[in-house]
């Protein structure tokens, strides 16, 4: 089973992820902030990361940068999620090494699943 590490601070969205991704056959770990993500990374060893850019404590961009600077995680597919939809944020994220970008309220969860499936790389 492919493993998806989801960083999402809104509990309802997190719940939706859990239901859908589990139904879709993934093993999912939910974290609520960047700090937790980095802590759980080693142990969970995900195949793909869904990263919310707007999280408390540690900015999503900072996490992205940290991951890409680490040898172990510099190639893992990372899909950044946001509700901002700013072209600049998208560009910035992609430049920093994100694999894909979605605006949550404009994207159906089925499409998210499809994206995960398209990008996942067994680690």
């Amino acid at each position: 089973m492919a493993k998806v590490l989801v960083a999402e601070d809104d509990k309802y969205l997190a719940n939706a992820y859990r239901v859908k991704l589990t139904k879709s056959g993934f093993e999912i770990l939910l974290v609520a902030n960047g700090e937790e993500l980095l802590m759980q990374l080693e142990q969970f060893n995900p195949d793909i990361i869904l990263l919310d850019l707007m999280m408390p404590k540690v900015d999503g961009f900072v996490v992205l940068q940290t991951l890409r600077e680490t040898d172990q995680w510099k190639n893992i597919p990372i899909i950044i999620t946001s509700n901002l939809g700013q072209k600049e944020d998208i560009e910035k994220g992609m430049q920093m090494g994100a694999t894909d970008y979605i605006v949550k309220s404009n994207t159906s969860i089925d499409d998210i699943v499809a994206k995960i499936q398209a990008n996942i790389k067994p680690q």
Binding site: Y12, A16, N106
Partner: protein
């Protein structure tokens, strides 16, 4: 009272002069010489009386209104003789002693002359009074009732005039006070743009005094900038526009810059001063709208913040409904599916509205980035058509795309232009009944790129002409068919077109169709630094 001597008075003056001359002569002859011949010896009573009379007569003569020449002659003669007598006394008395008259006759003559001189003095002042009385009598006896009436009317007129003048001054003072108290800046110019009036508020705002700027051209007092921070040329300034067109001009997008480096946004209304059908000047009433702009900005920021916050729960609802629809938590009955669909659609509408609100607030904040790049409009539109094909097919709408052959690559912001075509096309599809037609035409003229989107739909009511591009406008005639629209699409398009220096208009007949036409200058869109893009 100064009076022109008439015949009578001239005669009086003549005789006065003659008498005075004779008197003077005799006084000197009989009087002084008599004294002189006796020198200072044997000065008897007669001599003293005589000397007194001489003195008194002299005083009367001096005080009288006898002609000055007479007085001059008298005193000159006295003076000369006194000097002569004092220094050459003996010889004079000796030579003059031959001409002697019996003293008593001399005294008699002398007294007579004195009486006459006194009479002259009194006569003169008396005659003056007589003259005045005579004149007044002459006037009053000859005054007719008409003249009296006229005099009375003149007096009334004078009183009225003084009253009017007083009122006028009081009104002027009041007007002055009113003008000075106006809370907005007021500047009045003549027909050449020179300042003829500026009120205290304007003085404060522009950092000048009336005395400094009176009769100076307004161009030298302050400059005006547009919302892109470009200084306006004289012809672009509202005051000049008004002076040349004779029409009022209002503008809320201008900034004033003063000589002391102050800059502030204003709302200005310029009206022509018209006299006898000609524009003789202009009045500019303006106020500092820094506060209003701040409030606007805060409103926009608020909407932006709220919209972002709203998106999260909207996304949650969307996803959970999809989970339900997908049967991930159990299959739905048809009825349940139907209900879920309703919720889902409503939610999608909310998401659309939030997206539109965000776009509107971004555009209004002026923070939109405009990044023009070379764009093949034909290709762009084709892409949108392909995107919307499912909807076209669903409603069985026949779409014709007619791009001209020689269309140039134009430099525009792809995302913004895309939004325009997308909105127009989506509207066309939405508001055209099944089986209708839509035609898209692209063409150009010398200066502009012209696009037309025509549909065979419900049309826009004539009475809504002014409101069509305003926020949240929805035609009454389609609201009952379709409640999905949020009324922001056209507003957004207009803002984008305006920012591109283009124009947009439409023609429409209810239940027949609508054609929207918009232009973009062939020179393309101006790049603009900003912070956000459309969502």
């Amino acid at each position: 009272m100064a009076y022109k001597p008439d015949h009578e008075t001239s005669r009086n003056i003549f005789f006065t002069t003659v008498f005075t001359a004779v008197y003077v002569f005799c006084s000197i002859w009989f009087g002084l010489i008599h004294i002189a011949s006796h020198r200072y010896e044997n000065i008897g009573y007669i001599e003293i009386v005589f000397a007194s009379i001489l003195l008194i007569n002299g005083i009367f003569l001096l005080l009288s209104k006898a002609l000055r020449p007479a007085k001059i002659i008298f005193f000159t003669a006295v003076g000369f003789l006194l000097i002569y007598i004092l220094f050459f006394g003996n010889s004079v008395s000796e030579s003059l002693s031959v001409i002697t008259i019996h003293p008593y006759i001399a005294y008699l003559v002398y007294v007579l002359l004195s009486i006459i001189s006194i009479h002259v003095f009194f006569y003169e002042s008396y005659s003056e009074k007589l003259f005045k009385k005579h004149l007044m009598k002459k006037v009053t006896t000859e005054v007719t009732p008409e003249l009296t009436q006229k005099i009375r009317e003149l007096e009334v007129a004078q009183t009225t005039m003084s009253k009017l003048l007083k009122e006028l001054n009081s009104e002027r003072a009041k007007d002055g006070a009113i003008l000075s108290s106006i809370g907005e800046g007021v500047i009045a110019t003549d027909d050449t743009g020179k300042i003829i009036f500026i009120n205290p508020k304007a003085e404060t705002m522009l950092g000048v005094r009336l005395i400094q700027v009176m009769n100076k051209p307004i161009d030298s007092v302050y400059t005006e900038l547009n919302d892109k921070q470009v200084i306006l040329t004289p012809e672009e300034r509202p005051v000049w526009k008004t002076l040349h067109s004779g029409k009022s001009v209002s503008d809320g997008t201008i900034m004033y810059a003063t000589s002391d480096k102050k800059q502030f946004p204003v709302f200005t209304s310029v009206s022509p001063i018209i006299l006898n059908g000609k524009t003789i000047g202009a009045i500019n009433v303006f106020r500092d709208i820094t506060h209003e702009k701040d409030v606007d900005r805060m409103k926009t920021e608020f909407i932006s913040l709220a919209s972002h916050q709203l998106r999260t729960p909207l996304a949650a609802i969307k996803w959970f409904l999809q989970i339900l629809q997908d049967g991930d938590v159990g299959n739905l009955t048809d009825e349940q599916r139907d209900i879920v669909m309703n919720i889902y659609q409503s939610n999608e509408r909310m998401i659309d509205l939030v997206n539109s609100l965000l776009n509107v607030s971004r555009i209004e904040s002026g923070r939109i980035i405009i990044e023009p790049t070379e764009t093949d409009i034909t290709q762009l539109v084709q892409g949108i058509i392909t995107e919307l094909q499912p909807k076209l097919t669903e409603k069985k709408i026949r779409l014709t795309f007619q791009p001209a052959a020689d269309l140039p690559i134009i430099i525009v912001d792809k995302q913004l232009i895309r939004q325009v075509y997308l909105n127009l096309l989506t509207n066309a599809i939405k508001y055209t009944p099944d089986g209708g037609t839509i035609t898209i035409t692209l063409s150009k003229n010398d200066t502009n790129f012209i696009s037309e989107v025509a549909d065979s739909g419900y049309g826009i009511p004539e009475k809504d002409k002014e409101k069509v591009f305003s926020k949240f406008y929805r035609g009454e005639n389609i609201a009952k068919f379709d409640t999905d629209g949020n009324g922001l699409g056209l507003y957004l398009i207009k803002e984008i077109i305006d920012a591109s220096d283009g124009t947009i208009s439409y023609t429409s007949v209810e239940n027949q169709g609508t054609t929207f036409t918009f232009t973009i200058p062939l020179s393309g869109m101006q790049a603009k630094k900003g912070e956000v893009t459309l969502t």
